[in-house]
């Protein structure tokens, strides 16, 4: 038992490490330039009349974000590429340099081409025929497109050196260098190390959208989500445990059959459809049936008594909690009934009945414990569901919880928030599974906790 818990807890960091790699990778491939959004407006405006100054400002901004560091602890790359490519901070220029080098295998040649481009781009006098083309060439990573653009510049004395450098890249006499692989070790001064270190020390960064700290935003949203999920969980257990046991006890009766069919159908009804119907019919005046207040948590008047508070909150939370609860409710009742029916056929139940125990004692004392697997499964799954299930319900009912936060941040590509939420959810998922496994073990000490088999369903 202790060994199992220890093993699971030791495996947790590995899972989280992999998850953090996934998140880091997501951040890397996200389109959009976060450096530009960090630069001040004046600096960003430099791009047109003072390219050299802009490059300097850009480089400085990228340095404060740590983007001039290598990405990871080590890199394996093509031997034709230099090992210091990460020092070029503009991602588009870096992509241009990389593709051109991987095409020709001639890094010195690419370097010359790049310097020639920079020299022409930095020239103080703006030549409308050349400068825009040059600036586009700096971020043009398609070789053929670059060739066509350059063709338009032929015959100009200023660009002769550039043409020559580009023509040299066409030849394949240095392509052999492409066949050498290279490996370099960057040590701990890399982007991933700094990012993960900050996360571990509790610094989740701040939102890209409103610059508020991520931790504050999540804390503000967590209350709503925990409230809804807590109420939903309470509702599930309050209804489904008695219902499941009762239908199992009176199996075969018309009530049991009706409930079984009804719950099967209820389980198949997508909660977002039902929620949409409920909001459309009961919270809007479209059908003259707006019994419930519309979206949100409701406004509390100043100095409201606890009764008013309860009334307003309850009227706003009733529909979301029901929509949140009913799929799990159907799930738990169905499974509890099934395993309770299985238990009722066992010999020990006959013994209990022969001893003269009442029906409710048998059901509540003996059957419930042995049939409690689905209840435990739900309890284990509730932590990850906190976020995932809340996305829809909070979207539909417009509640400012974590699900809503995840949705809006993902749409706005607010990476610090999304990544923190994904990691948080990963931790909760792992802990939920661990708790469920331990719960199975508590309910049935015969279970051997050695493989993830037990965490099934």
């Amino acid at each position: 038992m202790a060994r199992y818990v220890l093993r699971r807890i030791l495996l947790l960091p590995l899972s989280l490490f992999l998850l953090s790699l996934v998140c880091f990778g997501l951040r890397q491939i996200t389109p959009g330039d976060q450096v530009i959004s960090l630069m001040s407006k004046d600096e960003a405006r430099l791009a047109n009349d003072n390219p050299a100054g802009f490059d300097l400002a850009y480089h400085r901004a990228a340095q404060t974000l740590g983007l001039d560091r290598p990405t990871f602890y080590f890199s394996i790359y093509n031997g034709a590429l230099p090992d210091t490519l990460h020092r070029i901070t503009r991602a588009q220029e870096r992509a241009m340099l990389r593709t051109f080098t991987l095409r020709s295998g001639n890094w010195p040649g690419v370097q010359q081409y790049y310097h020639e481009l920079k020299r022409l781009a930095y020239r103080v006098e703006n030549d409308p025929a050349i400068t825009p083309v040059i600036r586009r060439l700096l971020i043009q990573d398609n070789f053929e497109n670059a060739a066509t653009s350059l063709q338009r510049l032929t015959g100009r004395p200023e660009t002769a050196a550039l043409q020559e450098a580009f023509d040299r890249l066409q030849s394949r006499d240095r392509a052999v260098t492409l066949l050498l692989p290279a490996f370099s070790w960057h040590g701990t001064d890399n982007q991933y190390h700094h990012w993960a270190g900050k996360l571990l020390s509790g610094d989740f960064g701040s939102s890209l959208v409103d610059r508020r700290p991520v931790a504050t935003k999540i804390r503000a949203a967590a209350g709503v989500t925990i409230l809804i999920n807590g109420l939903a969980l309470l509702l599930v257990y309050l209804i489904s445990i008695p219902l499941g046991l009762y239908t199992a006890g009176s199996r075969g009766s018309w009530f049991d059959r009706l409930t079984t069919v009804g719950l099967f159908i209820l389980f198949g009804v997508p909660s977002f459809w039902l929620a949409t119907l409920l909001t459309n019919y009961f919270t809007t005046p479209a059908f003259n049936m707006d019994f419930f207040p519309s979206m949100g948590l409701g406004e509390l008047p100043e100095g409201a008594s606890w009764w008013t508070t309860l009334r307003i909150r309850a009227s706003h939370l009733f529909l979301p909690v029901v929509c949140m609860a009913y799929p799990s409710w159907a799930y738990v009742t169905r499974h509890l009934r099934r395993s309770a029916v299985h238990e009722l056929n066992q010999a020990y139940i006959k013994t209990a009945r022969l001893k003269g125990l009442s029906r409710s004692t048998i059901l509540w004392r003996h059957v419930l414990r042995n049939a409690s697997f689905p209840i435990i499964t739900l309890l284990g799954g509730i932590f990850p569901a906190l976020l995932a299930g809340s996305v829809l319900i909070e979207r539909i009912f417009n509640l400012p919880g974590m699900g809503q936060l995840l949705y809006t941040s993902a749409i706005e590509r607010d990476w610090p928030v999304v990544i923190t939420l994904v990691l948080l959810n990963g931790i909760l998922t792992a802990f939920g599974l661990l708790i469920a496994d331990l719960g199975y073990r508590l309910a049935d000490p015969r279970i051997r906790l050695s493989s993830p088999q037990n965490a099934a369903t």
Binding site: L102, P270, T429
Partner: protein
């Protein structure tokens, strides 16, 4: 028992019907006639479009932009003469199925229209196609990953895949290094960009790297000792790492950053997230089958182990797997509807059941836009659940 069989048949019929609608959707709802006679010439506009898309035939001359305005001698239109996503300005602003509609000689919008006059029925048919693609695509991918992994893990366990140390280490390390070398060095050298040539080159890298390292390692005597490949441990650890990943949350994060969303990508990601269910279930099933007498009998008669696995053990496990995957089918379809309801991961111009439902939220009194897609979705999920229910 009898009645449940009847329900099962109904469920199969429903899913089969959905598949037919998805395949022949273009003949059911289209903005061009099936057959038309124009100036003495017989045309098959819907079929012809397939030919044009495949590059087999040239388009009709002169090109017809709007078949509604054309006056053919006679024409046979599909039952729903509208196409999903095309707006009908005369019937805009949420026309109810029962309200007066301004369609002239053409058929009514049987299930109403949305704000821009787009036909809801045609949208449902387009949505059925998306559901089928995502459902079956995700299912196939999860089976493709789950069956080999779960089957090998359950059938061989930790002690049955024997070989020399050189063999296992050589193929696993050498193969990976070979793929890596092919990706970072050979690809740019040969300037390959096509999908198949790239895949072929990576495969070549795997085989060459594996063979090379196995050959090298054989030179060292300690590497020639026998070793069993711990297939079960590998797969179980993989499953364990995978279940800790919050699938849905990651899915939202992943799809939100993709610039060019497509339904194929959604199917791929859902399938990859679901392989553990198949693998876990098949592994348990294989543990059971492995100990059955007929497997022993096959082994004693000298049939090779891989042959036993593929010819005798796996087919026996396929029935239960198909039943379980029906559950997965319903889940994948539901997930796709969920995503398109939120407007994540599905192209903006693609009409799906979820996107219709999502639209209905902006105009609550258009009950037809909330009711019909939701009912189709519910029936499909119910049918899949019914087939996936284990007795």
């Amino acid at each position: 028992m009898k009645r449940s069989n009847w329900f099962r048949r109904l469920a199969i019929a429903w899913l089969g019907g959905l598949l037919l609608v998805a395949v022949f959707g273009d003949f059911l709802a289209n903005d061009r006639p099936l057959i038309a006679k124009i100036e003495g010439e017989l045309r098959f506009p819907v079929l012809h479009q397939y030919g044009e898309d495949l590059g087999l035939v040239e388009g009709y001359q002169p090109t017809v932009r709007n078949w509604y305005r054309l006056q053919p001698d006679w024409a046979l239109w599909p039952p729903i003469p509208y196409i999903a996503g095309a707006s009908d300005v005369k019937n805009g602003n949420y026309r109810s199925p029962f309200a007066e509609q301004n369609t002239g000689e053409r058929a009514r919008h049987y299930l109403g229209t949305d704000k821009l006059g787009r036909d809801v029925f045609a949208g449902l048919i387009a949505g059925a196609r998306v559901s089928v693609i995502v459902g079956i695509g995700a299912l196939l991918i999860s089976l493709l990953l789950g069956i080999p992994l779960g089957g090998v893990a359950g059938f061989f366990g930790n002690n049955a895949l024997s070989g020399t140390r050189a063999f296992w280490w050589g193929w696993s390390v050498g193969g990976s290094l070979g793929i890596l070398y092919a990706a970072i060095n050979l690809l740019p050298f040969f300037r390959l960009t096509g999908f198949f040539s790239t895949a072929l080159l990576l495969l070549f890298g795997f085989i060459a790297g594996g063979l090379l390292l196995v050959g090298l390692l054989r030179l060292f005597p300690p590497m020639r000792k026998a070793m069993n490949f711990p297939a079960d441990t590998f797969v179980l650890q993989g499953v364990e790492l995978f279940v800790n990943i919050p699938g849905l949350v990651l899915l939202i994060a992943l799809l939100a950053i993709i610039n060019r969303p497509s339904i194929w990508l959604v199917a791929l990601i859902i399938g990859v997230l679901r392989w553990t269910y198949v693998a876990r279930y098949l592994r348990a099933e294989m543990l059971r089958i492995r100990s059955l007498p007929y497997i022993d009998a096959a082994r004693i008669s000298g049939i090779g182990r891989w042959r036993i696995l593929f010819r005798h053990a796996l087919p026996n496990a396929l029935g239960p797997i198909i039943v379980v995957s029906c559950f997965g089918l319903g889940g994948a379809i539901l997930l796709e509807a969920f995503l398109s309801f939120l407007g994540i991961g599905i192209p903006a111009n693609q009409v799906t059941w979820g996107s219709l439902l999502g639209q209905s939220r902006s105009h609550p009194s258009a009950w037809w836009m909330a009711l019909f897609p939701g009912m189709l979705l519910t029936l499909t999920v119910l049918a899949a659940n019914l087939l996936g229910e284990r007795e």
